[in-house]
């Protein structure tokens, strides 16, 4: 079996969904003949036809709205937004309808749809190609926010998202689209939504992360291990609904927590996790809950981008501060 990158795993999951369920359709800008600007839909139009792998006009509010209409009318649309930076025109649909149609109609109509968007920086893209605004979606009741961090999880979680009867924002960290390969059998097996994945066990500190930053977090954990600090690494994977029990029980064990994400600090989803620890885990906390995140600035153009992105070093520094607390490391 060939090893797949994350973007190929996404493509494989989409192909599988198209094959298994005739109600599944894909739509978005350039998803057809071109196979998507990242090739996440490569080859699918050829197999499933232009009626089910649909190139749209260039209009994001429109993509949002037609996706809602399709879903309510019995299809299972998977819409691609070319970059997260261009999803904002669809916010009205996402907030006002996607997240609400089931509730508004007490389940008479619903929105079984998936909205996919590549997100995050680190590819030296032009401005507006490097956004990490997952926290915005995570604040909207009625949405699921799912973020894979490996080819295997991309495949399994995307299948789960498509099969889920409710809407899912499926955000793909494009920085790791092609950085790792894994064997990803096309077995049609979904992974569970609404659960964190514990990627590494350790008793000294809990590292909580998602998306592209999981890579640096895992790397930091390895380096820390060499320094005698064993970190437990949790990939949140589904931001909302949040699996707090898994995070809490890890922090009950370690007493320390560092949260790592690429999005800006203030109001990032890390705040929610830290806040829940301050509410539900206070007595277990041996040190401040630290957040290693992007800054409260616009993510810089290519030249300064590396100074904005979360680095292994910054994570290690934070962990050492947490572990040494109340001393300076």
């Amino acid at each position: 079996m060939a090893e797949l990158t994350m973007v190929s795993a996404v493509c494989q999951a989409l192909g599988r969904a198209l094959k298994d369920d005739k109600d599944v359709v894909l739509l978005g800008e350039d998803v057809g003949v071109n196979g998507g600007v990242f090739r996440a839909t490569e080859g699918l139009q050829e197999i499933y036809g232009a009626d089910r792998v649909i190139d749209t006009p260039l209009a994001e509010a429109g993509i949002g709205g037609v996706t809602v209409g399709m879903a309510a009318a019995g299809l299972k649309p998977v819409a691609e937004f070319q970059f997260m930076g261009f999803i904002y025109s669809a916010f009205d649909q996402i907030i006002s309808h996607v997240a609400r149609l089931r509730n508004r109609t007490r389940g008479r109509l619903s929105c079984p749809l998936v909205i996919r968007a590549p997100y995050g920086g680190g590819i030296h893209g032009p401005e507006h190609h490097s956004e990490s605004t997952e926290a915005i979606f995570a604040h909207i009741p009625g949405l699921r926010v799912v973020i894979p961090s490996s080819p295997l999880r991309a495949y399994g979680l995307l299948l789960a998202a498509i099969r889920n009867p409710d809407p899912v924002m499926f955000l793909e960290p494009k920085r790791v689209y092609r950085t790792v390969k894994q064997e990803v059998p096309d077995d049609g097996e979904a992974l569970p939504l609404d659960l964190c994945f514990v990627l590494r066990e350790g008793g000294d500190v809990t590292l909580v992360s998602w998306g592209a930053a999981v890579a640096e977090t895992l790397a930091a954990a390895e380096t820390l291990s060499g320094m005698g600090i064993e970190a437990e690494v949790i990939d949140v994977a589904t931001l909302t609904p949040l699996d707090m029990p898994t995070i809490l029980s890890s922090v009950e064990k370690t007493g320390r927590c560092v949260i790592v994400h690429e999005a800006p600090y203030t109001g990032g989803f890390g705040a929610e996790i830290a806040a829940r620890l301050a509410e539900k885990g206070l007595l277990h906390l041996l040190s401040p809950v630290l957040r290693v995140t992007g800054y409260d600035t616009v993510i810089p153009y290519a030249k300064n981008e590396h100074r904005y992105l979360v680095s292994e070093n910054r994570i290690i520094d934070a962990v050492r501060r947490a572990v040494a607390f109340p001393e300076e490391p």
Binding site: V25, R52, P57, G65, V66, R102, R106, G107, L242
Partner: protein, 360 residues
Amino acid sequence: MNNLDISYTRYLDPEGQVTTELPAFAQEQSKLIELYRRMTLARRYDGKLTAMQRSGRIPSYAPELGEEAVRVGYATAMKKEDVLLGTYRDTAAMLVRGVTIDEDLMFWGGDERGNVFAGPSEDFPLTTPIATQTTQAVGVAYAFKLRDEKRVAVTTIGDGGSSKGDFYEAMNFAGAWHVPVVFIIINNQWAISMPRERQSAAKTLAQKGLAVGIPGEQVDGNDVIAVCDVVSRALENARSGGGPTVVEAITYRLTDHSTADDASRYRDPDVVSAHWKNEPLIRLRTYLSESQAWTKDDEENLITTIDQEIEDGIAKYEAQEDLPPEAMFDHMFAELPMDLKDQREAVLAEFSKSEENGYG
């Protein structure tokens, strides 16, 4: 300036005189009487809702006084299996579609169960965020086309709403994809306090379709026969694979924008009164009377029956069980996620403590 060519359809003028030979369906008096009944129901129910809001029985309402012909006309033209995606002002159409008065009252009463209408079970609930329904309609129409179903999505929008980018994107998608959808612009001349002329420099709103290559036409929105006719043709065209149409129905909002509005702040009451002579019920009644198809007695009987129907609906609405507190959680997802369970418990605990007999 570029030349355009926009048709305008009318059969009955404000005096109830036939201006062009009536279309086939309108040759049958029973059909016209039914249209008249539907408009009268709309008018009476609209008055009732407005009164109920004034007396505090419902929190808000968007009246459609003077605009009954458009909604009754297009809804009558639709088939049951078509799907409607309307605005907040499309109550009359929903009634024609089969939504019951008690269901509708729940909506205006502030209860989500009002959107669970069994009649047209695929119709969308009334939409508040303006123009968002129009792109959704294209998605619904796409599903029809993909599944090869001979059905049409119908969506409405106001003159104000026709300025929104969503509407343009919807028309453009519909044109590019050639899907079965009919866009009805209900031009009642006002968007709250903004008059039609200042909303857009376009001479007609029908020409909005031209920007995306789909046909646009105007119809006298106070002539229910014309609306029904024009929309029927657009529907049949869409149903048979002819693609989308934009219909601009020209009417007039005879009252406040909503029960929260006071239109006397921004428009001249004399101008409004003048518009009463164009309102849609009189002209059809005149025509029917002059054709000996309608008498004073018929009118009185109709009103009695309708008022009873409305009272029955209100009684049924008021007999409904109150919404339980936890209702706000129970339809957020197909299955309540673990993470919301505590919150649901908290609400239950709070309100079982403090409320003895439900919502008051």
